[in-house]
Amino acid sequence: MKQSVFKILSNEKIADSVYRMVLKGDTSHITASGQFINIKLDGLFLRRPISVYDYDESTVTIIYKVVGVGTEQLSGMSEGELDILTGLGNGYTVSNDTKSALLLGGGVGVPPLYNLAKKLVAVGKTVTAVLGFNSKCDVFGEDEFSDLGVKTIITTADGSYGIKGFVTDAISEIEYDEFYTCGPEPMLKAVYDATSTSGQFSFEERMGCGFGACMGCSCKTKYGNKRICKDGPVLVKEEIIW
């Protein structure tokens, strides 16, 4: 973990209430896809944890949805600097012993899968992504995932774009050795029930600190009590207790 100052390079709306922000700064502590950053905002006591969409040597990109005062404030910033903690959470582990991977993202659970998709493609896996949204106006990421060489399927709950239904309604024909998923908890549970291989799940919980100190986001697993922020947010299928 590192605390440092990042400069806002851009902040654009990419779907209904969804924004993409690119930040410049020291990214050396970001070590895995699926990690998150924790952003300090003026006037708000707690930091705002937001998952990393993509990163390189000097920039980090986040995609976030406006859901409260923090993200509302963030969405209005087009320039300036932010105090950010980076390198938080365990992130996804890219395994070497499988050939094909399925990515299942729901809404703002899609972003942490993007950098992961890059890494999975880079190690030569066949990757399919099923990205689920409520409606056409919420959809983002289709071109970006496709451009990586990932077969990308979009689902919408109301059927206004792509396949009508949830991500689990689109996976019966797909062949995969492992899966990676992130999204709202009911979706994760549905994925758990609809899949037969091993997989990695990224969870969300209301956090205090975001770095393991306060025990605000604990959960029970078959491997003992874990902190979503530090021991997670990624848990493997075999350890999850619903």
Binding site: L85, R206, G208, G212, A213, C214, M215, G216, S218
Partner: protein, 303 residues
């Protein structure tokens, strides 16, 4: 050269800064961030006789200049703390630690304190009789003077280490409780624990926290904490560890002027993980600014 050292019942601290229980784990997470030997000491995560998962989530709610938590004393239990956490801590912290102890009955407090009494790394036992997040124990001992006295007396019998009793602000008159603890042999008083509070989500119309209520902490409670430290300083003669909303070197000096011999920093750690280190580094210049060369000389200076 300014002198930052303070003394708590014979335990000499290089400076008065102590991360508060529940905001610093068992230390080693923060040792990954900076050398925690810079601290005066720290108070480890509230430890009970048996392992506890604590309360359901969500456990956290944000407030104006503060937060509410309802963790509910999650900890691995005293046996695991002694077997695993203290040896891990030893590798990164050379100083004495403050052992924070929670409980649900006098027997439990006694059991846990008796075990921690044997640990060389423990400099002070801080008995939490004020946790607002557990039912049927914890805070109930801290809300009436005779129960507070009973816990103090029982714990004092099983340890030779200094015993500090951590008090709840959720009482009519905190000085009565402090006096009862002192009369029963407490070596010092820690205050304040969190203020009982709650938030309601306007969209769902339900309490934000699963347990409905929780402990309010952070910058917003500083004036309340300061007032109670000031009152307790007039009521007892044992040392006081002051805490509640402290987040700057100025706050530390203000808390000591009210009567604190040392100062704990809680919620601020969760927002700025380096805050304790930064306050220690800022203290010499802040002392000079206010014409202070020895921190020990300002304790209770506002009375």
């Amino acid at each position: 050269m300014v002198d930052l050292s303070v003394n708590l019942s014979g335990l000499e601290l290089d400076n008065p800064i102590i991360p508060a229980s529940g905001t610093f784990g068992y230390g080693h997470d923060f040792a990954e961030l900076y050398d925690i030997n810079i601290l005066g000491s720290f108070s480890f995560k509230g430890t009970t006789k048996d392992e506890r998962f604590g309360n359901p989530t969500p456990r956290i709610a944000e407030c104006e200049a503060g937060m509410i938590n309802s963790v509910g004393l999650q900890n691995p239990g005293v046996d695991a703390v002694i077997a695993d956490e203290l040896p891990k801590l030893k590798k990164v912290f050379d100083k004495k630690v403050i052992a924070n102890v929670g409980g649900f009955s006098i027997d439990e407090y006694v059991h846990t304190c008796a075990l921690l009494d044997k640990e060389d790394q423990v400099g002070i036992i801080e008995v939490n009789i004020s946790c607002p997040n557990v039912h049927g124990g914890g805070m109930s001992f801290g809300t009436n003077p005779s129960d507070a006295a009973s816990v103090t007396e029982a714990v004092k019998k099983v340890t030779t280490k200094p015993v500090y009793i951590k008090l709840s602000p959720n009482v009519t008159d905190i000085t009565e409780i402090a006096k009862a603890c002192e009369a029963s042999g407490a070596d010092g008083i820690s205050l304040i624990n969190t203020l009982l509070g709650m938030r309601i989500n306007l969209k769902t119309k339900n309490p934000v926290i699963a347990n409905k209520m929780g402990g309010f902490s952070g910058k917003a409670i500083f004036p309340v904490a300061l007032r109670m430290v000031y009152q307790v300083y007039e009521a007892v003669s044992v040392p006081i560890i002051g805490m509640g909303g402290v987040s700057s070197a100025d706050d530390v000096i203000e808390m000591m002027l009210a009567g604190a011999s040392a100062v704990q920093i809680g919620a601020a750690n969760l927002v700025d993980p380096y805050v304790c280190r930064d306050i220690i580094l800022a203290l010499p210049d802040t002392m000079k600014k206010y014409g202070i060369d020895n921190l020990k000389n300002i304790i209770g200076g506002a009375h």
